[in-house]
Symmetry: C2
């Protein structure tokens, strides 16, 4: 119940552009916009936003990256997702930009309970905390 996104399990070997984009995302703990990624890949021959968005779409499908809706930005997945696709939440530091993923069964349970009581059928959930991480307070 209340999955974060549909994950296409087989992350077959990445294509060139997918690998480039994932390399950038995986090399930082900061959320990056598609255009920020593009800027870092100019030297590798990328020229247009759509090239980045296409790669991002697939990385999202594979569960290798996440989109942060409240920032219009992307991060590499940095979390061991439980077997059962559970609710993923993000804590985003507004000072240093660090993003922490977390999941918790009780959160899933609560949301599933609410959804059932309202007869709402969720397909995708966004949960993003903005604030200050422990290092930045």
């Amino acid at each position: 119940m209340s999955p974060t996104a549909q994950v296409t399990p087989p992350p077959r070997t990445l294509t060139k552009n997918e690998a480039l984009v994932f390399g950038i995302l995986n090399g930082t703990d900061q959320p990056l916009s598609a255009y920020a990624i593009l800027d870092q890949l100019r030297d590798d021959g990328l020229r247009a936003p759509v090239q980045v968005y296409r790669a991002l779409d697939r990385l999202l499908e594979f569960g290798m990256a996440h989109r942060l809706e409240s920032l219009n930005a992307f991060v590499a997945c940095n979390h061991d997702h439980p077997e059962e696709a559970a609710q993923t939440a993000f804590a985003i530091c507004e000072s240093c930009g660090k993003v922490t993923e977390f999941t918790d069964p009780s959160l899933d349970e609560y949301l599933a309970y609410w959804a059932k009581s309202e007869n709402f059928a969720p397909t995708r959930t966004t949960l993003e905390l903005r604030g200050l991480c422990s290092a930045c307070q």
Copy 2:
């Protein structure tokens, strides 16, 4: 803990543009983008997006409207918020667009608990469920 937004309590009488924007939002159960609002207010003399965004900023401050991050859109508040500003969550129907707000102490408690355990100090939280409402299944 884990407030949704800072609410400036005194929603003094709205200015002309604030009233126009609120009137549009309040007249529908659909989330509207700033540009969709603008289009509906051309006849009332509004010409530029910034006029709508300024009004929206204040309506958000007053707690009279909410921004849906996953849609880049806005809705009028349609919920009796508890005394203590609690976590607000949104269920968004992907078929009919209907938006339902809900709050729950146990959700607040869970997020406050997680935040404390991680020493994360939240200032703002986004929780949005996408799916199908009971009428659309």
